[in-house]
Subunit: 194 residues, 2 copies
Amino acid sequence: MPTLRSRAKASRRDALLAAAAELFARSGFNGVSIEDLGAAVGVSGPAVYRHFTGKQAVLTALLVGASDDLMTGGQAVVDAAADAPGALAALVRFHVRFALDNPDVIRVQDRDLGSLPDTDRHRVRALQRAYVELWVSVLGQVHPSTPVTLLRMRAHATFGLINSTPHSAAAASAPAETVRALLEEMALAALTPR
Amino acid sequence: MPTLRSRAKASRRDALLAAAAELFARSGFNGVSIEDLGAAVGVSGPAVYRHFTGKQAVLTALLVGASDDLMTGGQAVVDAAADAPGALAALVRFHVRFALDNPDVIRVQDRDLGSLPDTDRHRVRALQRAYVELWVSVLGQVHPSTPVTLLRMRAHATFGLINSTPHSAAAASAPAETVRALLEEMALAALTPR
DNA sequence: GAATTAGGTTAGTCAGCACTAACTGAAATG
DNA sequence: CATTTCAGTTAGTGCTGACTAACCTAATTC
């Protein structure tokens, strides 16, 4: 039964995670203090320890959550696709949408992964690897004659392309729909061996 | 006249910058101590202050140097090109080579730029903007009917693609020449409006 | 409604780290 | 060769920041 207190706690935890994404993205994991994080949600400092065992635990929750969402969501769109080319297009759409919707998390993911404790870092990396292999397997069906190694490099570079949006604040200079379409087109072009 | 001491000093400074690139790339600016940096070149801690006024000054030298090299080198290859399509191909070749030769600097550049003091950060950003506009101007000649805003977004995303190599250690899994050719091909494909 | 739980508070504690002080010895200078 | 310069040393200093202690109060439990 969801008691008043437990719901308050859950929403505070969510607020902390959201604030952490924003703060870590702006200043880096090491540039944000527990005090800053608490202040961002209106509590002060040590209250954070009522929700997370420590600063690293906040980062862990954020990054495990993100790579989990990517993996789960990617698997879902592939399962829903009719054929391999359709799956690839769906993956591109899905990833572009994710990057545009969660620029902060994307930024933290490839900037502060190294600040995770070993165990958690390996967990996140395992999820990321699985996600890459999902792409590689679809790519392999669409381009059967291309060596898997090359397809894996293509996938990595394409993530770099799509994930760069958070870096270029230029995204704000055009309507979101235009940006989305452009990134999808570029990603597909980059993925296709000529 | 280059005295014995002055040459020793210059080479120590170079060694410090090289070590800084590597350490900052691995652990982030805030994750590296002055002590670490000194130790990496065989001196201990405060000796660094004989070469740089402070920790931030090391980062400044590193990043201003890098964006300067990019801008200067980019301008040179454009000037040397026979026509616009040639200039674009040369820019791609130049940038891919730079990223593969200086993965640490690339990583530090887009991870720790925010740790620079305001003045220096603006200086680096100005150089980066000029470099982007160099690309945009060449792209504008090759694709005159495409709005400049879209070309700028393409340039940014292409940098993300090329600069992602340092992130994916996968680079080690194939011969350097293969990686280089693949990145060049992907970059050109991504840059070309279909 | 008394007892307990738990999210919050403020006031430490302790470690790490950027930077300074004081000094040393060898190269540079005249 | 006497003097100065300067890259290095070790020993602080002061601040920041993660985390702990002790306590307080209101929601939960029985």
